[in-house]
Amino acid sequence: MPTSKSEVLQGTLDLLVLKTLDSMGPMHGFGIALRIQQVSQDLLQLNQGTLYPALLRLEQRGWIASKWGVSENNRKAKFYSLTRAGRKQLAQEAESWDRMSTMINRVLRTS
C-alpha cells in the first residue's frame, strides 16, 4: 500500500462531506465518495463504506437531509442534501480548520 496516501483524519470526513454537498448540490453516497476521491486526486485513502456511518451521523445532527430518488442511470438511490443548519456548521468548521492549519503552519515554520 503506497505510504503517500493519508488516512482520513477523524472528523475531517464530516467536513469533506459537507463541503462536497455544498458545492455539488444533492448527491447519492457513491457520488460523494467518487467526488472526494477525485478532488483529493486519490491521495486520500477512503474506504467508501465508512462514508455511510458518517452520513448517518450528519443526518442525526440535522446538518444534512436524505431522500430516495433516481440516479442519472435510472437506479434507485438515496440522495443527500445540505440543510440550513449544515451550511452554518460548514462555515464554522471551515473557519476553525483554516485557523488551525494556519497556526500549525506557523508553528512548523518558526521552529
Binding site: H28, F30, L34, Q48, T50, P53, R57, E59, A77, K78
Partner: protein, 889 residues
Amino acid sequence: MRESIRVFIHRLAALLQRRRLESDLDEELRSHLEMAVELNLRKGMSPEEARGEAFRGFGGIEQTKELFRDQRGLPMIETALQDLRFGLRTVRRNPGFSLLAILCLTLGIGANAAVFSWIEGILFRPYPAVTHQEQLLALTGTARGESGPTGVSWPDFLDLQRNCTLIDSFFVSKIMGTTLSIGDRAEVTTGSIVSANYFDAIGVHPILGRGFVPGEDVGRNAHPVTVISYQLWKGRFKGDPQIIGKTQRLNNVVHTIVGVMPEGFYGTFVGWAMQFWVPASMEEIFEAGGYKLEDRGARWIESYVRLKPGVSREQAQQEIAAVAKHLETDYPDTNRGRGIRLWPLWETPFNNAGALLPTLEIMLAVVVFVLLIACANVGNLLLVRSFARRHEMTVRLAIGAGRGRLLKQLFTEGLILSAFGAAGGLLVAHWCRHALVLLFPARGGVAMHLPGEIDWRVLAVSGGVCFLATLLLGLVPAMQTGKINLAAALKSDSAGVVGGGGRAWVRSGLVMVQVSLSFLLLVGAGLLLQSLQKIRNTSPGFSTRGVLDTAVNLTAAGYDAPRAQSFQDELLTRVKALPGVESAAFARMTPLSYGSYSSAPITVDGYQPPPEEQPIVEYNEVGPDYFATMGVLLVSGREFTRADDEKAALVAVVNETMAAQYWRGRNPIGERVQVKDRWMQVVGVAKDSKYESVREAPKSFFYVPLRQNFSRGAGLYIRTPLSPETMAAALTREVHALDPGLALFEVITLQEQLDRSTSPQQVAVTLVGVLGGLALLLSAIGLYGVMSYTVSQSTREMGLRMALGAGASNLLKLVLSRGLALTAGGVALGAVAAFALTRLLGNLLYKVSPRDPLAFGSAFMILTVVSVAACLLPAWRASHIDPARALRE
C-alpha cells in the same frame, strides 16, 4: 445540548423502526456497489475484476453495516434487549430449572417483603391516613425506681402543652373497651378518649360532620359527643347520610354523633381498630377510677406529640424533661421522682408496637438468612447449569464475545429469574400482609388489627433486595466464566471424581453456607421454643387450672357504687350456689391482663426511704375469698372476709417481697402501712405471684379489700372444675335474672389469660419456626442437588471403583460421608455464628442461656438427619451404577 437530545431522539426512533431502516441500508449499499461495478465496467474491466474492485473500494460490507447500526440505534439498549430475549428463551427452555429457581427466590423475596410490610405497617407508619408519621413520638411518664413507663396525668399534660416550644402539638389517645348499644343489641367495641385537638393534630378530617372543637375536652361530662369510624357508620348505621346529629348510647350515656371519619382510618393504636372517639371531658363515663381531669396524681392517659419540622427527638426530650423538672418542684406531692419520656413510634410502650418490636427485629434477620439460603440454592442451580453450558460459553468466547458481554448476559439471566421471584414474592407478601393477626387470638370477640402495608417504600426495599439477589446470583456463574480456559475447555474433560475437582469448592461452599444459616435458625427456634416452654411452665403464683375469669361491665350499664355493691353481693351469692362452684370472688384487676393496677405512695412505720425517693407500690382491690379462689397462698395471717367492709378497720395483705423490703425480717402482721393518707393494718402475707407479666422479677405488691376501696369495674373469678362454656351459660342466666340489660364478658380460664399474655413469645416461636423449617427445606434441596450432581458427574469413577472391587456399601458410604462432611463443615460454621449471634435474641429469651446446649444439640441432630435423608438418594444411585456401562460411556 439540544443537538445531543436531537441525536438521542433520532436514535430512539430508529430503535422502533429497525426492520425498515435495515432494508433501507441494504438497498442503499446495494445501489452503491452496483454503481461502482457499472463504472468499473465502463473503465473496461472484466465483470469479475469490476466486482472485485468495487468490493475492495468499499471495504468490509458487514463491518460497515455494524458500524452503521451502532451509529443508528442505541447499542446499549439493543444488546440489553438481545440479552433479555435470549434470557427469556433460556428460562423457557429449562422449565424445571427455572421453576425451581423462581420458587426459591419467591420464597426468599416474599418472606422479606412480607416482613418489610409488617415493619412498615406496624412499626414505622402504623396509622393509615395520618400525615407525616415520621414527626410523631409517643409520650409516657416515668417514675424513679420503676423501670417501666407510666401514664401521664391530665393536668401534667396541659402544662407540658403550654410550656414546650419545640413541639407542634400534643394529643391524647387512650384506648378503652366499651359497650355500644344500638337498638336492643349491646356489643363490646373499642374506642379512644382523645384531646379536642386530636383530629387536627394527626391531620385526618371527617368525611361527614366535624371533628372535636377546642374546649370539648374541658368540663366534667360536659360534652357527650362522639365521632365514629367509617366501618361503624357503614356497618351498624348502614351508611345513613343523615347520621350527623343522631344519638348513640355509649356505656349507657347518650352521645351525639358529630362526625364520621374516612375509610381506611383506624385511629392511633397498634393492634386494634378504633370504632369511635369521645373527647376527654367524658373520661369518667369510660374509665374506672372516677373523675381524673383535675387530679395530678392520676396518671392514666396515653399520648403522642408531633415535633415541629427540623426538631430532633433528643432536643424535644431535653425541653420536655426541663418542664417535667419544674412540675416536680411545683407539685412535689404528686410529681416527686416523676419524669416524662418520648419514644419513637416503633417503641411505643402502651400498644402492641413495643411488644412486637423485638419479634420483628429478629424476623428481619431471619428473613435475610432465608433469602441468602434461597440465593445460595439458586446460585448452585445456576452453577450446575453453567457446567452444562460451558460448551456454549466457550464457543461464544472463541468466536469473539468479550467476557464483559458474557457477564452481562449472565447478569440479565439472573435478573430475569429474580424479577419473576420478586413478582411472586410481592404476591406472597400481599397475601401475608394480614397474616400476623392470625397468630393472635381474638379477644372478647373483637379481632385484632395488625395490617401490613405495601407502599412505595416497601416496594423500593424489595426491589433493592431483588437487585442484591441478582448480583449474588450473577456472581456465581461469573466466577465460573472468569475461569474458562479456551484451550483446556475445548478439550473434553467431562469425567469428575467425588470430592475432587477444583471448581467443586464453590458449590460446596454454598452448601456449607446454607447449612450453617439453617443451623443458626434452628438454634434460634430451639432457644425461643425453650423460652416459651419455660414461660409456660413458670408458676404464675396462682392456679391456672380450675379457675375461670369473667366480668360484668357495671360502669357501662350506668350503675352507681351502692347499686353495684349490692349487685356484686347478690351475684356472688347466686354463683356460689351454682352446682360445681367451689368458691368465687371479685377483684378490680385480673393478673396478666391489659390494664393498670392502682398504685400509691406508701409510708411504713419504721421504714426510712432513701432521700429523693417516694416508694410507690401497686396494689389490687380484691373481695373476700380472693386468695382461696385464685389459689394465691398465704404465708401467714389471714385473707379478707366479708367483715372487712366500709365500717371495719382498714386492712391490707402484703406480698413476701414487700414484707422483706419494708419490714426487713420483722413480722409485718399487725404493723401499719399508710396508703394515700390512710393507715391500714397488715393482716396477712401472701406468696409472690406474677402481676403484669410472667417474665417480671418479683416485686412489692399488696392487696386491699374491695369493699374498702370500691370499684364498679371488677372482674369475677370462679373456682370450678366445669368448662368455661358450661359456666358461661349458667352465669348468663344468673346475671340476666338480676338485670336483663347487663352483658357478660367472655368467660375464660386463667390458663387462657396466661397464654394470651405470652402471645408475643408464641408469635416469635411460630414465625422463627416456620421460617426455620423453610430454610431447612431449602438447604436440604441444595444439599440433595449438589450430591446428585456430583454423583452424576462421577459415574465413571464409581464404575471404576466397582470394577476394582468396591462394593455397593462402600460407594454408599463414600457419597454419604462426602455429604455429611459438607454438613459438618456447615454446622461448625453455623455453631460459631450462633455462639456470636443468639444473644441478640436478648429479651425474647427467658431463663434460657443463648448458648443452651439442648438447643444446639437438637439443631445438630435435626440437620444430621435431614442431611442423611438428602444424601441417601444420590448415594443409593451411586451404589447402583452398572460398572460395565459406566466405563463404556
